[in-house]
Symmetry: C2
Subunit: 398 residues, 2 copies
């Protein structure tokens, strides 16, 4: 069978290769510390599970509206509004089988072939993959080391804008760096989007995985609510990654087209899973709160050990469940220079610590000289974090 040309531009998430190497190492009987996983090792809260079982018993097993059941759309609109100044109603919500489908659907509805899209690097690799697959041009903008955490290279971002730039992808709170935007960044992003009339994909997948205070959304700045599609997911807050439940929120004409894509692509999202998500939003919040508390403990344990490791330095992010330590000096000390693959392999073999590297998150920027790895602490308990990163510290001579 002759394969269509468009598939040549289709990228992937290369983190799966890391998982395969970790599994092979574990198969030899060695201990593996899975910092490469972006999945959570928490149980989905019981009230959500109960709601799913009840919905199945109640016969919510047939098709439902393409854009999702009305009570979930209404409740999610209100829930999102309660943390932002938005005034979304059910008409502004299209339920999706996960947060990820919003990326491709946003680009299909708002990007023409040949349009340029501003895209964070390091960043979630599916942004680049989908932009290029759909015929757009990736214009990367950097997350660079700042005083207290990674910051957006605003100067570089502004320089990257041309008359062909039609959209920007913003991921606040960010994978892989864990960065939260500063007030200055949010204002500047909103100002640039308005000045250049950009459509905005606002990926807030980690908005509620927040360790001090509450999240602040860029959608509240300037006219961002009018030009943004907000990516919402139930995956992280409610430990529902495998349930596949998310949503797009935005202006009605765009949401209507996103739902029209659902008519063509998958009819609807699983019917009874939507009742489960509804229970998550309306029910007892002790489950999600316990998840954030556990993640905070893990973050603190991991950051302390990383900063006690010779040749490694790491910020303390206020959100997400990722760390993006600078390992340049450790890689040099061990003689790996910038050979990420050899370094990762050596660390896995000698300590069992498995992680993704900078290379899994988009092409490095010109002049990018420091070396980073990404550690996710969503799928590993505090005891294992201490064991694994303790071994890494020893490996580094600490």
């Amino acid at each position: 069978m002759r394969i269509a040309d468009r598939t040549r531009a289709l990228g992937t998430e290369t983190a799966f290769a890391v998982a395969a190497r970790a599994a092979a190492h574990a198969a030899t009987g060695a201990a593996v510390y899975p910092f490469h996983l972006g999945d959570l090792n928490f149980k989905t809260p019981e009230n959500i599970v109960e709601a799913a079982n009840k919905a199945i018993r109640d016969g919510k097993t047939g098709y439902c509206p393409n854009g999702g059941i009305l009570p979930l759309r209404e409740t999610l609109a209100n829930d999102v509004n309660s943390r932002r100044t938005t005034e979304y109603t059910a008409e502004n919500v299209s339920i999706q089988p996960g947060g990820k489908p919003v990326i491709g659907k946003f680009l299909q509805v708002l990007m023409n072939p040949g349009d340029e899209v501003l895209c964070p690097t390091p960043g979630y690799p599916i942004y680049e993959s989908q932009i290029e697959y759909l015929g757009g041009i990736v214009r990367p903008y950097g997350f660079i080391p700042g005083k207290n955490g990674f910051v957006i290279d605003l100067e570089g971002l502004e320089k990257a804008i041309s008359p062909k730039t039609k959209a920007i992808i913003i991921n606040d709170y960010q994978n892989p760096t864990g960065a939260s935007c500063t007030e200055e960044e949010r204002k500047k992003l909103a100002e640039l989007a308005q000045r250049h009339d950009l459509a905005v994909l606002l990926d807030e997948a980690y908005f509620e995985i927040h360790y001090s205070g509450t999240g602040k959304s860029i959608v509240d700045y300037g006219d961002m609510a009018k030009r943004s599609v907000l990516l919402y997911t139930f995956s992280k807050k409610f430990a529902m990654t495998g349930w596949r439940l998310g949503a797009a929120l935005g202006p009605k004409p765009v949401i209507d087209l996103i739902t029209k894509l659902n008519v063509n692509d998958e009819s609807c999202t699983n019917h009874f899973v939507q009742y489960a998500g509804l229970a998550g939003l309306t029910g007892d919040h002790s489950g999600p709160a316990a998840i954030v508390d556990a993640l905070r403990e893990r973050r603190d344990a991991a950051v302390a050990l990383l900063n006690a490791t010779p040749g490694v330095s790491c910020y303390t992010p206020e959100a997400s469940f990722y760390l993006f330590p600078d390992v340049t000096d450790l890689m040099r000390a061990k003689g790996f220079g910038d050979d990420y693959a050899a370094f990762a392999e050596d660390v896995l073999a000698k300590t069992g610590v498995s992680f993704c590297t900078r290379l899994h998150f988009g092409a490095p920027l010109p002049g990018e000289e420091r070396r980073y790895i990404r550690l996710a602490y969503s799928g590993i308990d505090v005891a294992a974090i201490k064991e694994g990163l303790g071994a890494l510290k020893t490996y580094a001579g600490g």
Copy 2:
């Protein structure tokens, strides 16, 4: 926000407007007989529900492999092989959130913009919509009235093939006509596909909704297994429409690319729902058998009443849960000529019978003179069938 040009070519399923009219009529307190629904009013069999509950309890709530869990892929390959001469293994299976996603993914992987694709009419409207959305050209081929049921206009099909024809969509057992291919048709389709080196989407969504004997698959003819992607769904056989579970089966290079689209589009299909599907395939088959038995009773009741209705004639399909009666003479007798919308509205107002018409299933062929409606009996019990079609018979003066 400026909407991207590609969305102008995006079609939809217009049957939703019929559902809205039926709901409005029901809201007046009138009885409505919902023959427009392609959904099932059966409960999902208990062993499948139990398996879902168990999988949730067992923590199958995180991400799973992009192409689906290995036991489901293996078991489905064997199950499909047991009814065909194929030799699929897990490598030939990509699990999807429904059967419908296979349509768009097949076209993305095998159709270039400008390629022509042979597509049945009347037929499932999403074929046309996705072909045109992805930049292909629809070349319709007809299902026309034959001796014992609708048959493919093989002469017209052959004439529609040009050097630009790259693929054919075959829907055997067919929506909306309920037609099963004859032996001659299967041989001819396989011969044409081989001669013109066509990629084949074989939509077998209704393969196991079969009332006498068992289904015979076109994939068994000639070299079809090498050039076909088979669309499988759990929706109909197991009354799982709202669970969203299906699969693409085909040659490994194509299946690998389809799974790569899953990486980009939705990560994976709901994890625990896959264990539910596995239980459906391996467990007690009395549930699916009872569904087919009930559907057979409905078919027989509906066909008998339709053929007793003046100005209406209807075949007795051996598969699917659709009837596609010829209502030309009734429409003429009632003075509607070829105004389907006015006819449907009049029938709904006077009898409560709600249905889709020929117009919901692709553009009529040149010279197509007879008028048809589609009645689905998947969502309506025998007693309501008798009431509703009894009222239609009276409406027609019978």
